[in-house]
Symmetry: C2
Subunit: 215 residues, 2 copies
């Protein structure tokens, strides 16, 4: 049996026997939003291999809770998978932009909501095989409704859904976006009491009208 | 307030106001494993835009439960994110290969385990912004231990972890792989009784020795 002794000890142990190191790197193609890169790497046994991957600026996702407990969701056509997806609001970091600033900007632009309280849940890596992308997960609470301002050429619906609805859609295969399922897991950790968000109050969100849930 | 009426009705409604259609497609670069493509698309308002994305063959992920309830996990260095990740076993579909056959092959090659019972949980989309990738999630139960046979140049640790350990690592930011969190959500749906897997018995797994959990 080749399975080594495991558990936390194994996870916490060193990873020198697994690491790959960069020998050479090359930009294969500079796209409009993303760069494709090809590196030659040294494997743990000293041999060489090629790693091709997308360089991504990083992103944020927002789990925004309405006063009635429902979440602010989006419905957006995603061309690479050829279908309309149910998602939490998300967007790429602008150069030099912090995660919270990006989360505030994206939530406002795409949904029209501001939030008075924010808390970072964690970071996820959606594409560890071929992209550098990370997504910061932010919780937003105490919402204030306003007007959205979509980017030019951006088309998406905004709607509200309960945690139970999201779980049902997940089980039924209607909700298949991985980042959104990660957001659901954070939501569950929060609401079950297994994890407590470290809320930060955001002063400049205090203007505007109190949030009411969409129908 | 620009938020439209929401809930299931909204989700179930048509998506003609969101859809993009292909006008032209071009292979930008054919990589060793993946292809990068650039399409010109027509937006819902009739204007045009460019979509750049990776063409991926699809993959499977295996949530394999040991007799003591712990899960078969891997620890693998992922070059694009520059770190060692905790993951469920997974791998790309070979040309023409079915999901179950791929799941059986990958679990055996990477961990040495065969399973007598399999059930498909669902499908996820990890990279809806810039890749066609889908990942079928398979549950594997009634395991039989054996020898693993890693691909040439593949380096990974195999270990066992409980559902509680995985949740703790998720909250602590040690488990950030999005596909693995989706697998945890399916595991939770299964073990909570919210969802019942449709198990299929696999005859040719009946040879070998009964599984014992790693330390």
């Amino acid at each position: 049996m080749s399975v080594p002794a495991g558990g936390v000890g194994e996870v916490a142990s060193g990873d020198a026997h697994l690491r790959e190191t960069c020998l050479a790197t090359e930009v294969v193609e500079q796209g409009q939003f993303l760069q494709w890169r090809r590196d030659r790497v040294q494997l743990p046994d000293g041999r060489q291999a090629v790693r091709e991957y997308v360089v991504h600026p990083g992103a944020v996702m927002i789990v925004a809770a309405l006063p009635d407990g429902r979440l602010v969701m989006e419905r957006q056509f995603r061309y690479p998978v050829g279908r309309t997806m149910i998602e939490f609001p998300a967007g790429k970091l602008d150069p030099g932009e912090g995660g919270l600033a990006c989360a505030q900007r994206e939530l406002l632009e795409e949904t029209g909501y501001r939030a008075r309280r924010w808390a970072q849940a964690g970071v996820m890596h959606p594409v560890i095989g071929y992209a550098t992308e990370f997504i910061e997960v932010w919780l937003a609470d105490d919402l204030i409704a306003g007007e959205r301002h979509l980017d030019d050429g951006e088309f998406l619906d905004v709607f509200a859904a309960s945690e139970g609805e999201l779980s049902q859609w997940f089980r039924d295969g209607l909700l298949t976006d991985a980042k959104t399922v990660v957001g659901m897991m954070w939501l569950q950790q929060w609401r079950s009491g297994a994890w407590a968000p470290a809320w930060v109050s955001v002063a400049d969100a205090a203007s505007g009208t109190p949030a009411s849930a969409p129908e």
